[in-house]
Amino acid sequence: MDADLRDGDGGGIVTGTYVPHAAGYVDNGGPKVVTSRFGHEDSFTLERSLATGGYEGLRTALAMAPDDVHGQIREATLLGRGGAGFPAGVKWGFCPEGVWPRYLVVNGDESEPGTYKDRLLMERDPHQLIEGCLIACYALGLTQCFLYVRGEMALAQERVAAALNEAYAAGYVGREVLETQFSVDITLHWGAGAYIVGEETALIESLEGNRGMPRLKPPYFPAAIGLYGQPTIVNNVETLANVPWIMANGAAAYRQMGSEASPGTRMFAISGHVVRPGVYEVEQGITTFRDLFYGEEYCQGIRDGHELKMFIPGGGSAPWFFAEHLDLPLEAREVGAAGSMLGSGAIIVMDETTDAVKACHRMVRFFARESCGKCSPCREGTSWEEKILARILNGHGRPSDIDLLLDVGDNISPGPYPVASHADEGLEAVPFPPRQTTICPLGPSSVAPITSTIRRFRHEFEARITRGDGIPVAAAVPAGEAGS
């Protein structure tokens, strides 16, 4: 927040500092693919965009055949940044042949607990996102794009609207883009407050004017059947924000950053008990959690004198990690094998003062509130989980409640649930992803905080149950009676 950490003219940024006008963003001096303009106060204007290479990627693309543009994205191995990490170039190839029209829907619904990056990208560099959309539309033959921004993000809506107005007027969007045959409309659309709308089929339902409830699968990708029943590509804001750089600099240059399996950079938001929480653009695959939490250019350690207790590596839906997982690289496959996911690049760090039961309850309450209600294991299960945790927290827990919690969780996500290793107890990791009895992964996500904390901090739950309010709870209740 320190304005005088920036140099005199307000242009350049001193390495490793907050950028006040891009609240939360910290320039760590590393390579910049998507945050290159954040240092400029007027980064959201067309003028600044054009002065710093904006729409060059589009020009490059328009000079190539659409298929070759698609080829570049495929070759770059641009992994989706919305949560699942699916390669964009491969997804773009899933549209069934001969079915027209096709649509692009941009997922800017960012609501996963801990996630803060798409809002910054939309507020600070809307033209970069628009350019990414244009390139995708050109490559895939799409004439209509919908940019779905989360309802609560008023400034992001304003900035995207203003940028679209400028880009339309200047000939970058709309009829005959840059005097070529390529014509496309981009419509700004915004939601109205519902986390589940971030799930891509729910996003499409919402865009059709319906309740945002996920659709039954298969088809697994809306590329087969999406908006208005037509082939539809859904991509995250950050995914598309990478596209202009790739077109301007080439897939080979992109692959020089990060690792073989996870090239390029990614935005990570690290929140919670660190000295310098922030949003950092980080090379994927090679940086570790330890680098992020303790590095001078990153978070600079756990806040004064405290110790790490646990951390959530990939948003509220991810199983939790502990000190023994600090040396894992920010690489989807390795994190998956270790029992969690990188998800949406959201890391929440908790020190030893954190009450595991309280944090677990709060996260589960989120899923209980946000369940869309379409399937019973999730609709009923998440609210049971929340109620049981609330009574444990309030000192009214029953001795059977820990087993009951695990049992309810097992109804939503049967079998061993993904969980991190626990070396002290000789417990192995269960790899991601979980199984599900539900239509979408929201229900199963509610189980992550429960299994993570019970496996590690069962004693904290037990202490609450036997000593809540200082009143000893009566002897064991028969299992069948619990669960109101």
């Binding site: 407050g193 004017g209 949003v279």
Partner: protein, 218 residues
């Protein structure tokens, strides 16, 4: 006679023209209705049904799914305090307690003077800037009791609190209902042309006809 006032009716027509199917405009039009009235009235939903070729029941069915739509009057300023984990760790719940006691209402309630509504909300994507709250969906980062008091005092005194806001973009804070103060507006000559999906039967002109092979769609 339209339920929307003349200016908003024009906007409503422009919004409708941006979608291949009119029902897609239901949510944007609900926002427009809320902007005009501060909340979504039954008459507004009847009007939206007419404009989008749906029924009032369908419009309500959609609207009631989403938290931001209000079906009764709320405060001119809706104060949303995040209590999800990132904020909880750094005092979000205490901040909510403070708002509740300062304004004398519990989360979900509206002050008697109709000025404030308080909500206990989920993650608002400002996690590194915890604890945070929003007023009419404008962000206040790294908040504490002092910032909150100042914002409340500003609003009571008729001043805009936005100078203190995260974006530092200043200007007037619109009353509840108005989100973006800038709207998308495209002149007719620049539009590529929105058409219903039924009217399209082939690839656009810049695509080579044999291109875009599949790779085994799911």
């Amino acid at each position: 006679m339209s339920w929307f006032d003349a200016a908003n009716e024009r906007i409503a027509r422009e919004v409708l023209a941006r979608y291949p199917k009119p029902k897609s405009a239901v949510i944007p039009l609900l926002h427009l209705a809320q902007e005009q009235e501060g909340w979504v009235t039954p008459d507004a939903m009847t009007e939206i049904a007419e404009l989008t070729g749906t029924t009032a029941a369908e419009v309500l069915g959609t609207a009631s799914f989403y938290e931001m739509f209000k079906f009764h009057p709320v405060g001119k300023y809706v104060v949303n305090v995040c209590t999800n984990v990132s904020c909880q760790l750094l005092g979000g719940e205490e901040l909510l307690d403070h708002v509740e006691s300062t304004l004398g209402v519990r989360a979900g309630g509206t002050t008697d003077d109709g000025l404030f509504t308080v909500e206990d909300v989920e993650c608002v994507a400002a996690c590194t800037e915890a604890p945070c709250f929003t007023v009419n969906y404008r962000y206040f980062h790294r908040a504490d009791v002092d910032i909150l008091n100042e914002v409340v005092a500003d609003i009571r005194a008729g001043r805009s609190p936005l100078e203190r806001g995260a974006a530092g973009d200043g200007g007037e804070l619109p009353e509840h209902g108005t989100l973006g103060r800038v709207r998308q507006h495209v002149t007719a000559d620049r539009l590529a042309g929105v058409v219903a999906p039924e009217q399209v039967d082939g690839p656009p002109s810049w695509m080579p006809t044999s291109a875009t092979a599949t790779e085994g769609a799911s």
